[in-house]
């Protein structure tokens, strides 16, 4: 029973980290930096110096079949360790190494009992709201271009 709890906790934690990474990857580096400002970020070291590289993007044959290589994308990544031991990873599309490092820092803070609430409130919540609002704006602009067919009846019904 105890082991099950641990696994569930672990999965929950992982889902939480992944959700945070998704919001951060969608956000502007400058916005993340601005949101981090009010937090007294603890000391940390770079476990992996921020670096640029490529990831081969894969599609699926027919959209739902076996994978194929579509083409590459630029990606930045970084890893940091807080003085308190938490290790955070940052991955994002694009060549902004600073953004990858900030994502890594946030990932470490999310895992820290001392900082997780502050990161959620100051960084993740506002960025998530901005992301959702941007997505909704696009969705509503798109919806206005949806075709409403009507049938013209010819002759006598």
């Amino acid at each position: 029973m105890k082991a099950d709890m641990t696994v569930a906790d672990e999965n929950g934690k992982q889902a939480q980290r992944k959700a945070a990474m998704a919001v951060l990857a969608h956000s502007d580096a400058a916005e993340i930096a601005r949101r981090l400002e009010p937090i007294a970020v603890p000391a940390y070291e770079n476990l992996r110096e921020p670096e640029n590289g490529l990831v081969m993007l894969r599609g699926r044959i027919g959209g739902d079949g076996a994978p194929f290589n579509l083409g590459e994308a630029t990606v930045s990544r970084a890893a940091v360790r807080l003085a308190s031991g938490e290790v955070g990873f940052g991955y994002t599309l694009g060549r902004d190494r600073r953004k990858a490092q900030m994502i890594a820092l946030c990932d470490a803070l999310v895992q820290s009992s001392e900082f997780s609430v502050a990161v959620e409130e100051n960084v993740l919540a506002p960025l998530r709201a901005a992301m959702i609002s941007e997505r909704d704006r696009r969705a509503s602009e798109t919806a206005a271009t949806r075709v409403d067919f009507y049938t013209m009846v010819r002759g006598e019904g």
């Binding site: 990857a25 990831v55 993007l57 894969r58 290589n69 630029t74 509503s140 798109t142 919806a143």
Partner: protein
């Protein structure tokens, strides 16, 4: 053969200086920024990303600026850049069924779940040049409407439920995903490799080949089952992290062609599929790609191979515009020695001819590379 020719250094340096000057154009006119190129010439940027085989809008915009608008030169620059970075690995295959759709049309069903969504399209424009745009324009804000929460299944998924269309081939765990950037092409090539080749292939080449299939050179009776454009989330299985990390979203265009198939002794007649996928908003490209993907399945489907678009060696060997331009344009390089030997041979032949010998001259040797 080529011979090192010295003495051109200063001319080359000055030619590049002149190029930079010409590229800048009239210095009284403001210089283009990458944000302007990326934002206002976005379909050109999409094409450079697709054929350069590198998703990075800013780099593609820089390439277009540096290449003075020459798409193939820009694609070449992007290809060269990608060789400078290490590859971290391959993404999880993207799920276009979960796309945040900005355009989605089907020419096979009027009423599809989720509806026909036109999005930002040139379709139904009158193709009249717009003088207002020349003056600088302030377009109206887009109209908005309440977005429906309904899911948007792919049209092929709907047909697939009734078995009316063939299922997509599934992953064979024993065969790794082919990668033509790592292994030289060999034939016959599997569909994964063919799709990779077509995805980075020259749009004009694929357009012409796709068109040829419609005109009867390997006809395959296509319908545009669905075209969709939008944002798709990308995940990367990062070994150091221990789970698939989100990288953000990429814009993709997908085309599903639905084609006839008459069936065989062992298989009931059903529709077959051609598939196109590309970076950005690349509709013509993905439609052409889907036509050619289907025609290249001739061997697999037991169709007679009679047309160029069905010949995978012909298509795949000539589809890459960087390779093609390299070989065509290398003719500009000094061939002085080759040409001297040809010239010598020709003079000899002409001399023999004028000496009025009755013998017919030997055919000329093929031009050396």
């Amino acid at each position: 053969m080529y011979v090192a020719v010295k003495g051109g250094e200063r001319a080359i340096e000055n030619a590049h200086r002149l190029l930079a000057h010409e590229r800048r154009g009239d210095r009284e006119v403001p210089e283009l920024s990458l944000a302007q190129i990326s934002g206002q010439l976005s379909l050109g940027v999409d094409r450079i990303m697709t054929e350069g085989s590198l998703y990075d809008r800013e780099l593609a915009a820089l390439a277009l600026k540096q290449a003075r608008g020459d798409m193939i030169e820009a694609i070449f620059l992007v290809r060269a850049f990608r060789a400078t970075l290490p590859r971290f690995g391959a993404s999880e295959p993207v799920d276009t069924g979960q796309m945040q759709v900005r355009r989605r049309i089907s020419s096979t069903f009027k009423d599809i779940p989720g509806g026909q969504i036109l999005g930002p399209t040139f379709d139904y424009t009158h193709r009249l040049l717009d003088p207002e745009l020349a003056e600088g324009s302030k377009p109206e804000a887009p109209a908005t409407a309440e977005a429906s929460a309904a899911t948007m299944p792919r049209v092929t998924d709907i047909l697939g439920r009734d078995g009316l269309i063939e299922p997509s081939p599934q992953l064979d765990a024993n065969s790794p995903v082919g990668d033509l950037t790592r292994e030289p092409l060999s034939f016959p090539a599997d569909r994964d490799l063919r799709l990779q080749n077509l995805a980075r292939a020259d749009e004009g080449f694929l357009l012409a080949l796709g068109y040829s299939t419609q005109r009867g050179y390997g006809r395959s009776h296509p319908f545009a089952g669905e075209i969709r454009l939008g944002e798709v989330e990308v995940e990367f299985m990062a070994e150091d992290v221990g789970f698939a990390v989100p990288l953000g979203a990429v814009t993709l265009t997908e085309c599903q062609m639905v084609n006839q198939f008459k069936g065989s002794a062992t298989e009931a007649p059903c529709f077959t599929r051609g598939y196109g996928l590309a970076f950005g908003q690349s509709e013509r490209k993905t439609m052409s790609m889907a036509l050619v993907d289907r025609s290249l399945r001739a061997r697999e489907l037991g169709e007679e191979i009679v047309a160029p678009a069905q010949d995978e060696e012909f298509v795949m060997s000539h589809s890459d515009n960087v390779q093609a331009t390299g070989f065509v344009e290398h003719l500009k390089l000094p061939h002085y020695v080759d040409f001297q030997s040809e010239l010598g041979l020709l003079r000899k032949l002409r001399q023999e001819f004028s000496e009025a010998t009755v013998e017919i001259p030997e055919p000329m040797q093929e031009a050396a590379e």
